[in-house]
Amino acid sequence: MKPASFKYVEVADEDALAAALANYGDEASLLAGGQSLVPMMNFRVVSPEAIIDLNRVDTLSYIDCGEDTLRIGALARHAMLEDSDVLSRRCPLLSRAVGNVAHRAVRNRGTTGGTLALAYPGAEIPLALMTLDADVVLRSQREERKLGIRDFILGSLDTALDADEYIRHVEIKLPPAKSIASFVETSRRHGDFAIAAAAVVAARNDDGQLAYLRIGVSGGTGAPVRMAALEEIIIGSDLADRVIADGVHETIDGIEVFGDHHYPEDFRRHVLQGVLRRALNEAIFGSEHRHVQ
């Protein structure tokens, strides 16, 4: 189980990275953390002609938290997110999500840009970014462009990334300061990709009314799904259990869910409803306590 031969190209800065991508295009794979690419190469599922290693491009490795906007560089490792105090204070959903990603040894290498570029349906960070409606900034020698994440992740393992482009960073409009985040997933073993996962961020206004709600689910859905219709149902309601349960049932029924030989479609929907109800409970009623304090 060894990778096929490839040409190894190491780049030290973003200009060299863009130039290498322009040069090799389709024949090259970008190597960031390598936690999905290298196993695929070991199995020879993929055998790129060239590997462009961007691990030395330090300018892509940062977390920059401003007043309203959070920027995370494409090369920020999952462990950097996990250990970030500012992230746990200002964008707790990402902190919660990253704790569910594999194991520490994998999080020490895996990167924000890498998991986005792979767009694996059960991956946690793309779900958190979809829930927060992040923007993804892409760059090539031709141009720099910013895509909303819904226009970036097109489906399972499918993105809008062109062959000569790389992900530069993601931009997140920060949720309100008093918000509560929850991230609930079910997986076969601890650290595996999710069979189904739900992400919720909720905040109350000064009167204790639920004023901010972001909901997302993934697992069997192709791209992660932002549940905007459910947000509207819940925000305009009295938050009764029955209303939330019916809303969850109805909106999960309304999204596209794929079954496979491990997890048939109806099973996935059932698990999606379960994780979503738990996540909603935790965030909505957690935000009530947060307000009272």
């Binding site: 189980m1 060894k2 990778p3 096929a4 031969s5 490839f6 040409k7 190894y8 190491e10 190597l31 390598g34 936690q35 290298v38 196993p39 190469m41 070991n42 199995f43 002609e49 590997i51 290693d53 691990n55 030395r56 462990a79 594999a102 194991h103 520490r104 040894a105 994998v106 020490n108 290498r109 073993r189 601890h190 650290g191």
Partner: protein, 162 residues
């Protein structure tokens, strides 16, 4: 396709060593076969079992999910580099004392993972140990001895003057 062999110079356990290899050479194979660090156990070769875990700048990584050429800019610690002379590391001692191993295949990865876990989070309980060690698979012990060993090592390291 390029199968050109290049010189790969690595710093392992404080020593600088070099060998020829192709860029596709995995760090795990390079450490074990080219440099002779046979404590790097190569199990699943796709990042699931944790047996090949080494420390890269003191952080645990799967050495089967890196190319050797990528490790040039880092300092690597394998299980061979953990003891001080004839004195075992507290985690190694605890694994021996609590029967944290039978066949020993998973042990280097387990020990290095535990060293990092305790360093980052000195206060451990059974739950946090089980979570922290869950990326390393053992098919012999049923994990009981491993969990006891890591808990004991955490306590011993806390009471030691740093």
């Amino acid at each position: 396709m390029s199968s050109e062999r290049i010189v790969i110079e690595l710093k392992v356990n404080g020593r600088t060593l070099s060998e020829f290899a192709e860029p596709r050479m995995l760090l795990s194979d390079f450490l074990r076969h080219n440099l002779g660090f046979t404590g790097v156990h190569v199990g699943c070769e796709h990042g699931v079992c944790g047996a090949c875990t080494v420390l890269l700048d003191d952080q645990p990584v799967r050495s089967c999910l890196m190319f050797a050429v990528q490790a040039r800019h880092h300092e690597i610690t394998t299980i061979e580099g953990l003891a001080t002379g004839n004195e075992m590391h507290a985690v190694q001692d605890a694994f021996r004392k609590h029967h944290g191993l039978q066949c020993g295949f998973c042990t280097p990865g387990m020990v290095l993972t535990a060293v990092d876990l305790i360093r980052r989070m000195p206060d451990q309980d059974e739950c946090s140990v089980r979570e922290g060690m869950s990326g390393n698979l053992c098919r012999c012990t049923g994990y009981e001895g491993i969990v006891r060993a890591v808990l004991d090592a955490a306590n011993n390291l806390k009471s030691q003057p740093q």
